[in-house]
């Protein structure tokens, strides 16, 4: 059960307003998307594929120029660090860690040929001058994830899918982020361990992190979500607390999968 919902509604840490973005000129994948994320909450973005869910996370993390819109982190608007870029100001992806944002893309973003330990160390890249601090962080991660401690000398690419996800989360924790942008955490992972990964995400939220989760695994995602956004063709179709979306998952799927004219938002 969602524990955070019992507490007074937290003010959102991430506020994104009317984001418009795309890869090719003239093709907007996001057509004015607004989402929020709050500490202690798992917010889930659902919708058929091709509607721009992954693009939303990329745009939030700075991998994509915004054409319009505004992103506020922890109450502050992003300042422009790339003045030559068109569109609203944004940070470069490599600066997001310092801002307290971690991004876990659909395919694990590990360095497959480097060992587990080196992956963790690189996660603490911003503290590279502070040897002691890095050692502490690595020790903390090993304590938190015993599986990784056992395999710290092993190349990250040789881990199982579930272990890779754990390593990725452990690595992102090295920077003490507030917000986690998570894209399909269980895609391509054997069903046996998916439960463990959702538990992990839930425990992050319980620790006061803000989670924005994009998922195809609707049933499981709904189980841990506090709040749900349903996206369709680049816009947010509907949103609300989990209670409003709980119940019959398949009806929900059918609703947005085969939605007819009423979903058109122009």
């Amino acid at each position: 059960m969602a524990t955070a919902s019992a507490a007074p509604a937290p003010s959102p840490w991430l506020v994104a307003r009317d984001l418009v973005a795309g890869y090719l000129p003239g093709i907007d994948i996001l057509r004015g998307v607004s989402v929020e994320a709050a500490r202690g909450q798992v917010r889930c973005v659902l919708g058929p594929n091709g509607t721009g869910k992954s693009t939303l996370l990329k745009a939030l993390f700075g991998f994509l120029d915004l054409r319009q819109g505004e992103i506020r982190l922890g109450g502050e608007a992003a300042s422009a660090t790339s003045p030559h870029k068109l569109g609203p100001p944004r940070l470069e992806p490599h600066e997001m860690g310092r801002q307290g944002v971690a991004y876990l893309p659909q395919r694990p973003s590990l360095f497959p040929h480097l060992s587990v330990e080196v992956n963790l160390r690189l996660g603490a890249w911003r503290y590279r001058g502070d040897r002691k601090r890095v050692e502490e962080l690595v020790a903390r991660a090993c304590e938190q994830f015993p599986v990784l401690a056992e395999r710290r000398r092993q190349a990250a690419g040789t881990l199982s899918g579930g272990q890779q996800r754990q390593l990725e989360i452990a690595r992102s924790l090295m920077q003490d982020p507030v917000l986690f942008l998570i894209d399909e955490p269980t895609a391509g992972i054997e069903p046996r361990v998916t439960g463990m990964i959702y538990d992990l995400i839930k425990s992050l939220a319980a620790d006061g992190k803000a989670i924005l989760l994009v998922d195809q695994n609707i049933k499981r995602a709904l189980e841990i979500a506090d709040y749900v956004y349903v996206m369709r063709t680049g816009t947010v179709l509907s949103q609300g607390s989990r209670a409003e979306f709980g119940g019959d998952t398949e009806a929900l799927v059918a609703r947005w999968l085969y939605a007819s004219g009423d979903t058109r938002q122009e």
Binding site: P25, K219, L257
Partner: protein, 241 residues
């Protein structure tokens, strides 16, 4: 399955990339005049299937039969010569050639084609797609939606019997999308066969007469849209179960 004469058939198609089986014994048949929608979650093997069915990838198992002729790993241009046209998921135009030249290329590969006749037909096609005023522009200077239209036009210049459209609606502005659907319907009623892959279920349902669903490299449903809509396996696949 359509009662019409069979145009193209993939029988037991297998395609592997390293350890990943992208197509696992897929049977896929298209009859003359069909309008097939091909859907499925990300990574279900749709684009691979199109690549195999249009000669851009040689299958590791099974075979493609075009108009009753086994293709035996023929190159893509042989398929094109036999009336198989396709668009690409990410538009692949001849970027530094003009809009008109983009259409001349496929037109002039037709045996016996004359430059004049092809140019005339290219201009008619551009008018059909409402791109005529951009004729002398380099293709790279078109907007994304215009590029998709031009790619469709390039297919049409092959005078194809069958067109494979890979995500024609992705990111296309709604009013342009409606026009695109209209064009597809017009071409279809003029006798062309279509296979359309897209995530935009609404558009797919609007155009297609038959829906094929893929998941994890396999075909999991094949039939009239109304039937497939009720299919629990399809919903389960999309719900990530």
């Amino acid at each position: 399955m359509s009662a019409a004469a069979e145009l193209l058939r993939g029988a037991g198609l297998v395609k592997r990339f390293g350890g990943i089986v992208a197509n696992d014994a897929v049977d896929f048949a298209v009859g003359e005049g069909d309008l097939v929608g091909l859907i499925g979650p990300n990574g279900s093997g749709k684009t691979t299937l199109i690549n195999v069915l249009t000669g851009h990838l040689a299958p590791d198992g099974g075979q493609v039969v075009l108009r009753g002729r086994p293709m035996r790993g023929a190159a893509a241009h042989v398929y094109a010569a036999m009336g198989v046209a396709r668009t690409f998921q990410l538009t692949q135009l001849f970027a530094r050639m003009t809009v008109l030249e983009n259409l001349l290329v496929p037109g002039l590969t037709r045996p016996g084609s004359t430059w004049q006749a092809v140019a005339r037909r290219a201009r008619t096609t551009l008018e059909f797609l409402n791109l005529a005023h951009l004729e002398q522009l380099h293709a790279k200077n078109l907007s994304g939606g215009q590029q998709k239209l031009l790619e469709l036009g390039r297919c049409l210049m092959l005078e194809p019997a069958i067109l494979f459209l890979d995500e024609p609606f992705a990111g296309v502005h709604p009013h342009l999308r409606d026009g695109l659907i209209k064009r597809i319907q017009e071409l279809h009623s003029a006798g062309r066969t279509f296979v359309v892959v897209d995530h935009d279920m609404e558009s797919i349902l609007r155009v297609s007469q038959r829906l094929v669903v893929m998941a994890r490299g396999r075909k999991i449903a094949d039939g009239p849209p109304a039937e497939v809509r009720e299919d629990q396996a399809v919903l389960a696949a999309y719900a990530g179960l």
